[in-house]
């Protein structure tokens, strides 16, 4: 589950990480009030950032032509005007696709005087099954680019999960960033706080980019998380009620939200051949087979190991809401699951949804004969297939017809 920047910063602040002062808001009046407070506190400039789960916000363009989802403002009136322009408006960035994303929330915060920028992330190292901290002296840029052009700038540290991050390790990372003097201590404290956030919040990833040395009004320096991205391990949400409430359904595809209500795992793709499969591995392999025979999958859909008639019907309804779909492939290997139950589900769903699209069904496994009979005598038009390859070939040619 992805979090917004303001939510990420709330969690970080709770774990002792220095973040620029600021507040989220959903109206232009609130935006003005937050800005006024920041100006009264002595800040010369505020930054306003749209809160969407997508990168490239600064360079995005709103559908009405208004440019940029990140703005620096010197007056509360300016903040008010820009909030008015952005809230409720839809922005297109390099990551949103053409449809863009509607803006519901803004973060209004103090604009820090940045001295230098770094990169910091905590994630799982899958090879060792240990937490991995990554820092880079090149901040504010895409880390994958740094990995390619200047890999020596990235320093990695695996943490023993039973001991946790040690103070000397955090200090060494701070030094690796080129920090000196007192900043080594504040840098180490921040790195320790970020690691603690990752661990205690069950995050999949915490990324601070940029992590900055900033200048205070009195000329002294401190280190702060100027931007932050956090994603949370969905399996852990049962023990983080507060974080679970941060889920923003506006940021998730409508059909995927609908599917999750029925415990279906659905991901919309761009093709026109829909598929309905039991098991994640088999579902991926089915998509691959469709592609192999020249088709383009419209979705990933795993109905799980013990799908019911209701789930199959819901799955059909979700598939049919995608207007690109030209043909449907049902691929079931009923291991323990009774093929006849699935067949009954398919028939009920086809009837209930008044299905007119070509439907190819491949059933294999437990009680398959009864399942095939159910399909044959159902009166619905469908094409049967012997194996996955056969099914994929048939559905691709139907979609192209």
């Amino acid at each position: 589950m992805n979090l917004h920047e303001y939510q990420a910063k709330q969690l970080l602040a709770q774990h002792g990480v220095e973040v620029p002062g600021g507040q989220p808001c959903t109206t232009d009046d609130e935006a003005r009030a937050i800005a006024e407070k920041l100006f009264t506190d002595g800040h010369e400039m505020v930054v306003m950032k749209i809160q969407i789960h997508s990168g490239g916000r600064g360079k995005g363009v709103f559908k009405d032509g208004f440019k940029g989802g990140v703005h620096l403002c010197k007056t509360a009136d300016d903040v008010y005007e820009k909030a008015k322009a952005m809230l409720g408006n839809t922005i297109v960035t390099k990551q949103t696709g053409e449809a863009g994303r509607q803006v519901h929330t803004l973060l209004v915060a103090s604009a820090e005087k940045i001295v230098s920028e770094f990169y910091l992330a905590v994630l799982l190292d899958r090879d060792s099954s240990q937490p991995l901290i990554m820092v880079s002296s090149e901040g504010g840029v895409d880390i994958e680019e740094v990995a390619e052009t200047n890999p020596d700038a990235i320093v990695k540290l695996k943490v023993d999960p039973l001991l946790g991050l040690q103070a000397y390790q955090a200090r060494n990372l701070a030094k690796a960033l080129g920090l000196t003097g007192k900043l080594i201590h504040s840098g180490a404290k921040l790195i320790a706080g970020v690691y603690k956030t990752w661990w205690e919040c069950d995050a999949s990833m915490v990324e601070i980019n940029p992590l900055c040395v900033v200048e205070n009004p009195d000329g002294s320096q401190k280190i702060a998380a100027v931007d932050a991205k956090i994603s949370i391990d969905g399996n852990s949400l049962y023990r983080h009620k507060d974080i679970a409430e941060m889920r923003d359904l506006n940021e998730e595809a409508e059909l995927e939200v609908e599917a999750s209500k029925f415990d279906l795992n659905y991901i919309k793709l761009d093709g026109n051949v829909a598929c309905l499969v039991n098991g994640a591995g088999l579902a991926m392999a089915t998509m691959d087979a469709i592609k192999h025979y020249g088709g383009d999958p419209a979705n990933f859909l795993d109905v799980g190991g013990g799908a019911t008639k209701e789930q199959v019907t819901a799955a059909f309804q979700i598939i049919l809401k995608d207007p690109n779909v030209k043909a449907i492939l049902v691929n079931i290997f009923g291991g323990i699951m009774n093929c006849n139950t699935i067949a009954e589900g398919v028939v009920a769903a086809a009837k209930e949804t008044h299905l007119t699209l070509p439907l190819v069904v491949r059933l294999e496994g437990n009680n398959v004969e009864a399942g095939r009979k159910t399909l044959a005598k159902s009166g619905i038009t469908l094409i049967t297939a012997d194996c996955m390859a056969d099914a994929a070939k048939k559905v691709v040619s139907e979609a192209a017809a």
């Binding site: 899958r126 240990q130 039973l162 069950d202 399996n235 994640a280 591995g281 087979a289 990933f300 390859a389």
Partner: protein, 296 residues
Amino acid sequence: MAILVKPDTKVLVQGITGSFGGRHTQLSLEYGSQIVAGVTPGKAGQTFEDQVPIFDSVQEAVQESGATASAIFVPPPFAADAILEAVDAGLELVVAITEGIPVRDMIEVKAALNGSETRLVGPNCPGIVTPGTGENSHGGCRIGISPGYIHKAGDIGVVSRSGTLTYEAVWQLTCNGLGQSTCVGIGGDSVPGSTHLDIIKLFNDDPDTRGIIMIGEIGGSAEEEAAAWIKENCKKPVAGFIAGTTAPPGRRMGHAGAIISGGKGTAEAKIEAMEDAGISVAETPSQMAEALLKIL
């Protein structure tokens, strides 16, 4: 014969009184597996299906029944504790079926397992089957949720991250007259107890395994690691398949571990590494047995 479990392996089930655990324990008993004990704290003295005694702790169950392997069906919030209890009781093999265990719990479990004699398979896996020689492979050892009847006793080892895709491969083998020594589902999570490589090493050392099918999917680099080892060390023919060629980067495809991130874990890279290691990679999921037959 076989790896990890034999038809006479004594198995206990943690979470035997839950509906999921109970149903699959019943199926394992019907398959002829030696399910000798169940564990549900607070339910000692009860019996599962008038046949399997239930204990409060794994240690008691092991002492009374002589079980050497455990199947874990405990719900996610309690699963890590169940695994550690099984490890502490000295079991040789722990198979965690549970789906949805938080990654942090598994990081801790994996660290605690360091240096332990216990082998963990899973979590989020279909389990292990060593087929028996009876009708529809009856009499084998079935730990987990795989359909027993699709198997056939023989000499092909199967290792996979996915459930139904494993059944697909096993069924293709059986239909082609190729039986299996052992089929191991290592699970789709990003912190697995055992990797492809761990299992392939066991197959390589098993005199009764003649050929191997390795099924992988996008995410991580376990398949590449296995391929590199196979290239240098494996004495047996290996066929394989990688699911997820068409998966979009950054999206998690059902399994927690099936995600391409930062340009890593693509199907292309895995297939390339496997072909480089001399592994016969099936072009479509329908040709997994065929790919192996070509090189046997």
